[in-house]
C-alpha cells in the first residue's frame, strides 16, 4: 500500500503500546499492528503490574485502568511435599496513598492501555500478523503483513512482538532461543464469589495478596510458582526452565495440577471455577541473553529483547520502560535531524544502560547459573528447612537443645559445613 508512516510498531503488548503512545505524543504518525483479535488476546502474565513505569506514561492510570487489586500482603513460601515454611509481609496501604503494585488481567489491561495510545493518535490494526521485515540493503524500511496489499513502509520499525519474536529470528537479529534461556509458565484463572475470596485471604475492598512459592513443587527444576488474588478470581501458576522440563519430561499441566493439590494450596483454591488455562514463555536469560537492540531502521523492545528480571519477577514494567526509551530515542534523533542509522540508534542501548533496566539485569546475571549448578537449593534445602521447622515447633517432650542439635545434624548429613558455607556465599554473590 502507498501510505507511509513515521513508525511502525509490531505488537500491542505493554512494550509496543508504550512505544506507540510515546511516539504519538511526540507528534508522530504511528501504525501499530497486533495479531490478536484485540490487544491482550495473545498475551499472558501472572500478573503483577508495577506502577512506576506506567506512571511515567499515564500519571493518573489508577483512576481508569482496569486494575484488579493492589497488593497489601506478599508471602514467600518454601514448599516441601506436604508443608511450607514462609514469610509474610503485610502493610495495609491507606486509601489515599498510591500503591506501587497491582494484580491485573492482561487481556483487559492491554486493551485499555492500547486504547490510550489510540486516543493519542496511534492507528492500531488488529487481527493482522506481521510476517517479515522489509529491507532496502541492510536498512529496515517497513513490514509485510499477512493481508492483501499488506506491505507497509515507515522510517523506523519497532519490534515489540514478544518472547518468540518471529521477526527478529527471521531477520537474523536474534538467534533462536535456547531451552535454558526461557521458562515455560502455565497458569489457570479460577473464579470465586468475591466475598468468599476476600474471606479466604483476609482482605477487603481492593486489597490483594500475592504468594510466591519455591521448593520441591518444581521437582528439582529451576522455577517458581505463584498465586495472585484478582477481584473475583485467583491466578495460580508455575514456571520452570524449559531445559528442565525437557530433561524431566513432566507435562507442565501435570506440574500445575500437583501444585494445586499441595496441602498448603488446596484449601485456598477449593470450589473455584476454572475459566482459562494459559501457557507462555518467559525470557530468563537475563543480561547475557540480551541481543543486539537496534540496527538500521529498527529497534527491539520488551520480551522480544529478553527484558525480564526473573529474580524479581518483573517484566511488563521493563517492557514499558524499554518501549518508552526506544521511542524517546528516535524522537530525539528526528528532532536533531539525524537519520535512523545503526550508529545513531545505538543511543537506545546507551540510554538503557543508564536506566534501572540494565542495572538490575546486570546485577542478577549469575543467578541462574548458580541455581542450575546447585540443584540442592531447590530440593534439599526446602525439605531441610521444613523438617527443621517441624522438629523445632513440635512439642513432644524432647528438650529444645536436642532439637537444635538434630536440625544441625540433618543439615550436615546432606551438606558438609564447607558446602553449607559455599552455598551461602554463592547465593549471596548471585543476588548481591
Amino acid at each position: 500500500m502507498n501510505e507511509r508512516f513515521d513508525a511502525i510498531v509490531v505488537g500491542a503488548g505493554p512494550a509496543g503500546t508504550s512505544a506507540a503512545l510515546t511516539l504519538a505524543r511526540g507528534g508522530w504518525k504511528v501504525l501499530q499492528i497486533e495479531r490478536g483479535e484485540y490487544p491482550g488476546s495473545k498475551n499472558v502474565q501472572g500478573a503483577i503490574l508495577y506502577a512506576d513505569s506506567l506512571q511515567k506514561l499515564i500519571p493518573n492510570f489508577r483512576e481508569e485502568a482496569p486494575l484488579e487489586r493492589h497488593l497489601v500482603e506478599q508471602r514467600l513460601w518454601v514448599l516441601d511435599d506436604r508443608s511450607y515454611i514462609g514469610s509474610t509481609y503485610r502493610s495495609p496501604v491507606s486509601n489515599d496513598a498510591e500503591p506501587d503494585r497491582y494484580t491485573i488481567l492482561r487481556a483487559q489491561f492491554d486493551k485499555w492501555f492500547a486504547k490510550k495510545a489510540q486516543e493519542a493518535g496511534v492507528l492500531l490494526i488488529c487481527e493482522t500478523t506481521v510476517l517479515d521485515l522489509l529491507r532496502e540493503g541492510e536498512r529496515v524500511v517497513g513490514v509485510r503483513t499477512d493481508r492483501e496489499e499488506g506491505e507497509v513502509y515507515a522510517d523506523v520499525v519497532i519490534l515489540a512482538d514478544g518472547v518468540n519474536s518471529v521477526l527478529a529470528r527471521k531477520a537474523g537479529i536474534r538467534p533462536e532461543l535456547g531451552a535454558g534461556e526461557v521458562a515455560l509458565g502455565v497458569k489457570e484463572v479460577l473464579f470465586y464469589p468475591q466475598e468468599s475470596l476476600e474471606d479466604r485471604f483476609g482482605i477487603q475492598g481492593d486489597e490483594g495478596v500475592a504468594i510466591e512459592m519455591v521448593g520441591k513443587i518444581t521437582g528439582g527444576m529451576v522455577g517458581t510458582a505463584f498465586l495472585y488474588t484478582n477481584k473475583e478470581s485467583l491466578a495460580v501458576g508455575i514456571g520452570c526452565l524449559l531445559s528442565d522440563f525437557r530433561r524431566e519430561k513432566v507435562p507442565p499441566y501435570v506440574l500445575l495440577a500437583r501444585l494445586k493439590e499441595h496441602p498448603a494450596l488446596r484449601p485456598l483454591l477449593r470450589d473455584g471455577e476454572m475459566k482459562e488455562y494459559t501457557a507462555h514463555l518467559i525470557p530468563e536469560g537475563g543480561y547475557k541473553a540480551i541481543p543486539k537492540l537496534s540496527g538500521d531502521g529498527w529497534l527491539i523492545v520488551g520480551d522480544a529483547g529478553m527484558f525480564v528480571n526473573s529474580v524479581h519477577r518483573e517484566g511488563s514494567n521493563l517492557a514499558m520502560e524499554t518501549g518508552r526509551i526506544a521511542a524517546e530515542t528516535v524522537i530525539e534523533l528526528k528532532q536533531a535531524g539525524e537519520p535512523f542509522t545503526e550508529r545513531n540508534l545505538h543511543r537506545y542501548r546507551q540510554r538503557l544502560d543508564q536506566s534501572f533496566v540494565m542495572k538490575d539485569l546486570r546485577k542478577y546475571q549469575h543467578v541462574h547459573e548458580v541455581l542450575d549448578q546447585n540443584r540442592h537449593f531447590l530440593t534439599t534445602y526446602p525439605e531441610l528447612v521444613n523438617r527443621a521447622a517441624e522438629t523445632l515447633l513440635r512439642v513432644d517432650g524432647v528438650d529444645k537443645r536436642s532439637k537444635e542439635k538434630e536440625v544441625v545434624r540433618s543439615f550436615r548429613k546432606h551438606r558438609s559445613y564447607r558446602g553449607l558455607f559455599s552455598d551461602a556465599v554463592k547465593l549471596w554473590r548471585a543476588f548481591r
Binding site: E3, E127, E149
Partner: protein, 282 residues
Amino acid sequence: MPDSAQIRVHPVTGTIMRQGVPAVLNPYDLFALEEALQIKDRLGGRIVALCMGPPQAEAALRKALSLGVDDAVLVSDRAFAGSDTLATSFALASAIRQVGQEQPVDLVFTGKQTIDGDTGQVGPGVAKRLGMQLLSYVCRIPILDMDSQSIVVHRWTERGGQVLQSKLPCLITVLEGTSEGRFASLPEMIRATRQPIRVWNRQAAGIEDLTKIGLKGSPTVVGKVFAPSRRAERAECIEWEQDQAGKAVSLLWEKIRARQPELVEKLSGTNGGENGQERVSE
C-alpha cells in the same frame, strides 16, 4: 453481543459467569454480511452496517467496515436496556427508517439468528414493521434485478427448498454456511480504523414512543435463569458374546428404530437405502 460459547453458570452460586467474555460480531451475521458484499461486488451499491448494542459493539461494526461496508451506525442508548425481541425489532426498524431517509433501502440482510438469544425473531419482526417482504432462511440468491426491483431466492425448509420470487424492498435472513468469509486487505483495515462510526441514541434513531422500547416495550419477562441439569445416566450398553456381533447390531438397530421411527419411514421412501447414494457429497 457476547460470545455465548464462553458463558457458564457458576456451579455453586448459580450466577451467570460472563467475565472476560468478549463482544464478537454475531457469526450468523457474518454470512448475511458476506451475502450483501457479494451483491455489492456484482451490482455496486452502498452497504450500511447497523447494530444495536452497548458501545463495545463498535468493534463488530469496525470489522464490518474493514470487510467492505460503506457506513456504520451503532444504535446505543440506555433506554434500550432490557429490550426483548419485539422492542428490539421496533428500535431497529426505526433506525432503518432513518437510514432510509438518507438513501432508499432496497435490501435488509440479517443473520438467521443471534448467538446469545438464538431466537431468530428480530429479522422477521423488523420486516413486518417496515412493511417489507420477508424472505427467511435464504441460502442462495440466484437472481437480483435492480431495474425491475425483482429478486429470486432459495429458501431452506426442513423438507426441501422453496424458490421464491419477490419484489424489493425486502428483508432477507441468511442461513449459516452459505459462504466463506473474506479477509480484508491492509488498506481496507486502515480505512476501517479511521472511519468514524456514527452512534445514534434513541432520538437520533427516530424513536419517540418510550413505551415501545426497553423493558416497557417488552411483553416478555424473564422469570428465572438456570443451568441445564446434566444427563446423569450412562449409555445403555448392549452386551454381546464374541461371535454374536450380528445379533448385537440387530438389537441396537431395533432400539434406534423404536426411538426414531421417522428415520425408518424415510429409509423406506425413495431417498433412503440404496437409492440415497446421491445424498452423500464427498
